[in-house]
């Protein structure tokens, strides 16, 4: 009766949670959640993105080949064409006239040049639609601003590229239609929304396919081993509740849930299975050993996820919170059913294992470490292409547009603290081959003495030239221009004037920064004070730093685990036995990385943490129970469930889940075999 009431209550709770989950907001692209652990770098990148230098909410379309239907579809989906490079009013450059060479100014002020310019006023006045040109002449009557602008035309991307911006929210259905049309065409189109769409589509597919496969196989496995509908029902209902609770917990903390975290939630079946199995069949002759097994199994998993809460990566923290909330929810859900669970029997598993001496374990550890030393520790480097879904078509398009932006010196930008003389700093970097100033406003900079020469000329001859232009403008019926005074230009003023399409000078976190394109051949790591601000390099750097940070967390987690297990087992030999498979896993992973040519990334390291959280259970429980057939049965069942779950994840479309799946499957597979077939030899 009590169980029935609890089941009914659980179903009601499930319904309520399902209703609440309708309000959860999804984040499509895991890249968007990345933020540099260095707050200055993070704010700098944010400021750059806000300044319109980023690619958020934008699509870029090449003019050729032309696809009017695709363009119409983009407009229907809420995209409006915006200038790729915002226009600069030429008159705004006139105040930089001191940067012109005296000879150039002399030519502009010459009577013939002024007459020519005055004549153009009446030419344009006679034409319809000449307002913009006449206004430009009126505001820059001597053509000084135009000369400055011409001397260093602001870098503009290929004229064949058009930009479209979205104001409204991301619409998956509209993007689906647009993406389909794009794939059928030969149009060149790229943008963050296309990546976001591909990532959400992959996450949806992973949720549907991987989630279904995992659920069916886990339930089948559970049924074949336990032959109890109660267990199958509890696992199904409890996992549904833990899935929804995890979603809501992440949403409550972050205000949005990464789609990839939803797909990852299929792993809860495995964690829940572990909890259920270890709580069951509690009639144990040795209650101390049972408690030890239970605390080893559940405690290590919780420690693994608690360590991940300290990660800077949003995706990792979301996965950790989802896992902890999901596991706690499942544990709470089981409470009313504890009686039947504890009294349920599981079939024992007799395995003819081998005893392994301390010496052999030490030998295994040494061999593993030697293998790692020979094969080499994989390099820690994460590229955003390894962190999110990117179809080959979209990758080609990104390369197509990158090449165009690079031609205009808009790609691969770096920032460095500006100090009081930012152009001098940039020129030092340029001399070292670090930055390319060939399209940079710093090129215009002239010494104070050189500027004074030009200013003297302007003071001497500028007034007369302006009077002649004023006469011409008034004769045409236009307002006379106002006289202006010219002054020497400071370095910061020059950089601030050229603010489109790149803000070459900007403040972030209380520091001024100057921006320049990285030289083509430069290796950025040679100049630690250069901060990457272009999306690919920035996110790649962030991912690498986060991976390194995760390695530290992993080490700390492993240390915490060792202390926890030492306190539980009170035996160095047992703890040594528990940890031995981790060394074998380390050697196997190093071999896998060498053979497949992969670099160590954030998700691999998260996988390591999960391996210590999950795989240590197997050896820990086996050792604490003296390899009793009953506990080995539990180890085999939970291990098989983990292998099914993470094995399925190895086939995910999302590279994040795939890397996680492969790593955990490898680690848990080795640990499971070791726990089942080797037992520590009791000291003589």
């Amino acid at each position: 009766m009590r169980s029935r009431l609890a089941t009914l209550a659980s179903i009601v709770v499930l319904g309520g949670l399902a209703w609440l989950s309708r309000f959860v907001v999804l984040d499509q692209d895991p890249i968007h959640a990345l933020e540099s652990p260095n707050p200055v770098h993070a704010e700098l990148f944010q400021r750059v993105s806000q300044a319109g230098q980023g690619f958020e909410r934008r699509l870029f379309l090449a003019r050729k080949p032309s696809y009017p239907s695709l363009e119409a579809m983009m407009r229907r989906s809420g995209y409006k064409e915006v200038p790729l490079v915002p226009a600069i009013a030429l008159a705004d450059f006139a105040h930089l006239a001191a940067l012109l060479d005296a000879k150039e100014v002399q030519a502009l002020l010459a009577p013939e040049a002024i007459e020519e310019r005055a004549q153009s006023v009446s030419d344009f006045a006679a034409l319809p639609g000449s307002e913009a040109i006449l206004e430009a002449i009126g505001s820059d009557p001597l053509g000084l601003g135009a000369a400055v602008a011409k001397k260093l035309a602001p870098p503009s991307a290929d004229a064949s590229v058009r930009a479209f911006a979205r104001d409204g929210p991301f619409d998956f259905a509209a993007m689906h239609a647009l993406h389909e049309a794009f794939e059928r065409s030969t149009a060149h189109l790229v943008g963050s929304d296309l990546f976001a769409y591909e990532n959400e589509r992959a996450a949806r597919s992973d949720i549907a396919i991987i989630g279904s496969v995992t659920t069916v196989l886990n339930l089948l496995l559970f049924w074949f081993v336990t032959r109890r509908w109660l267990f199958v029902g509890l696992l199904t209902l409890g996992s549904a509740i833990s899935y929804l609770v995890s979603q809501l917990a992440v949403f409550a903390v972050f205000g949005g849930v990464q789609a990839v975290v939803l797909a990852y939630a299929s792993t809860f079946l495995s964690f829940n299975n572990e909890t259920l199995v270890h709580l069951s069949d509690g009639a144990h002759a040795n209650q101390k050993a049972r408690r030890l097994g239970l605390l080893s199994a559940i405690g290590t998993t919780y420690i693994g996820f608690l360590a991940l809460l300290f990660a800077h990566s949003t995706v990792i923290r979301q996965m950790a919170i989802a896992s902890l909330a999901g596991m706690l929810a499942f544990l709470l859900f089981l409470l009313p059913f504890l009686g039947p669970i504890v009294s349920a029997k599981l079939p024992p598993l007799k395995v003819r294992g081998k005893s392994i001496s301390t010496m052999r374990m030490v030998t295994l550890v040494i061999v593993s470490c030697t293998t790692i030393a020979i094969v080499g520790i994989p390099s820690i480097e994460t590229d955003i292409r390894g962190f999110r879904v990117e179809s080959s078509r979209l990758a080609k398009e990104a390369a197509f547009f990158d090449a165009r932006l690079a031609r205009a010196s808009l790609a691969d930008l770096v920032a460095t603290p500006a100090g009081t003389a930012p152009i001098d700093i940039l020129r030092t970097f340029a001399d070292q081959g670090a930055v390319d100033l060939s399209h940079h406003p710093a090129r215009l900079w002239r010494s104070r003495e050189a500027q004074e020469e030009t200013l003297a000329l302007l003071r001497r001859e500028g007034g007369g030239a302006l009077e002649r232009m004023a006469s011409a403008l008034e004769a045409a019926g236009l307002h006379a221009p106002q006289a202006r005074t010219f002054q020497a230009v400071e370095q910061v003023e020059l950089l601030k004037t050229f603010s489109t399409p790149i803000r070459w000078f900007l403040a972030a976190a209380g520091t001024n920064f100057v921006v320049a394109p990285l030289a083509r051949e430069a290796v950025i790591s040679h100049w630690p004070s250069l901060i990457p601000i272009s999306p690919r390099r920035y996110f790649g750097g962030v991912l690498t730093v986060l991976s390194q940070e995760m390695l530290v967390l992993f080490a700390l987690g492993m240390a915490a685990m060792a202390i926890y297990l030492l306190a539980l087992h009170r035996s160095l030999l047992r703890v040594g036995y528990v940890f031995t498979p981790l060394f074998l896993f380390g050697a196997s992973f190093a071999l896998y990385a060498r053979v497949s040519g992969i670099a160590l990334n954030l998700m691999h390291v998260m996988g390591f943490s999960l391996v210590i959280g999950l795989a240590l259970d197997y050896t820990s429980i086996a050792a604490s129970s003296g390899h009793s057939p009953k506990e080995l049965s539990k180890v085999a069942l939970t291990g098989a469930s983990t292998l099914i779950t993470f094995g399925a994840l190895s086939f995910a479309q999302s590279p994040v889940l795939k890397d996680l799946g492969i790593t955990v499957t490898l680690g848990c597979g080795i640990a499971l075999l070791f726990a089942l077939f080797f037992r520590p030899k009791a000291p003589e």
Binding site: A126, P128, G129, A132, I133, L134, A480
Partner: protein, 180 residues
């Protein structure tokens, strides 16, 4: 202006106003141009003779200062009162080019060309043209065209943010393509 645009966009009548107008081979017209707005110290009035063929537009100003503007595709040449001829610098032509392209379609009353450049609304006595964002017509927000009873151009009013240009057409001689 926004309200005006909104009202105009709401008038989504079928765009058949120009249906039946024959393709044009040549147009000769006398035009009075009046420019006024914040840009101008006083209204600018000029008298112009316009000659149009599919290949070229000749815009000859007779007063206040004589000049001749010849437009062939993207090339714009100006001959001043003293007979000096020069081709306008390339960087000054794009802002003009968009509008002159529109003038070309307007004088010819070429519906298909107009539809490429504008969103067209009709109100019974004329057309209201709103430049499409993709055309890059700098500074022009709206063009109003009025035709007379013989469905010939009578006035064209160009609305720019700080200027209004009114073109009044007289003595329009249009040679249809078929009659040429």
């Amino acid at each position: 202006m926004t309200a005006l645009l909104w009202v105009l966009l709401a008038q989504s009548q079928p765009n058949d106003f120009l249906v039946g107008i024959q393709a044009t081979q040549k147009v000769h017209a006398e035009v009075a141009m009046l420019k006024e707005g914040a840009l101008w110290a006083r209204p600018y009035a000029s008298k112009v003779v316009l000659d149009w063929t599919p290949q070229e537009i000749r815009w000859e100003t007779l007063a206040p200062v004589r000049s001749l503007v010849e437009i062939e595709g993207a090339r714009i040449a100006v001959t001043d009162a003293r007979g000096r001829r020069r081709v306008l610098p390339a960087q000054s032509t794009p802002p003009l080019g968009g509008l002159l392209g529109a003038l070309d379609a307007l004088v010819a009353l070429d519906q298909s060309k107009l539809e490429q450049l504008f969103d067209i609304r009709t109100d019974g006595s004329g057309l209201t043209l709103i430049p499409k964002p993709t055309v890059g017509m700098v500074g022009i927000s709206l063009i109003e065209v009025r035709l007379n009873a013989a469905r010939e151009i009578q006035t064209v009013v160009l609305h720019a943010p700080r200027e209004t240009t009114r073109l009044t057409f007289t003595k329009v001689e249009r040679i249809p393509a078929a009659a040429h």
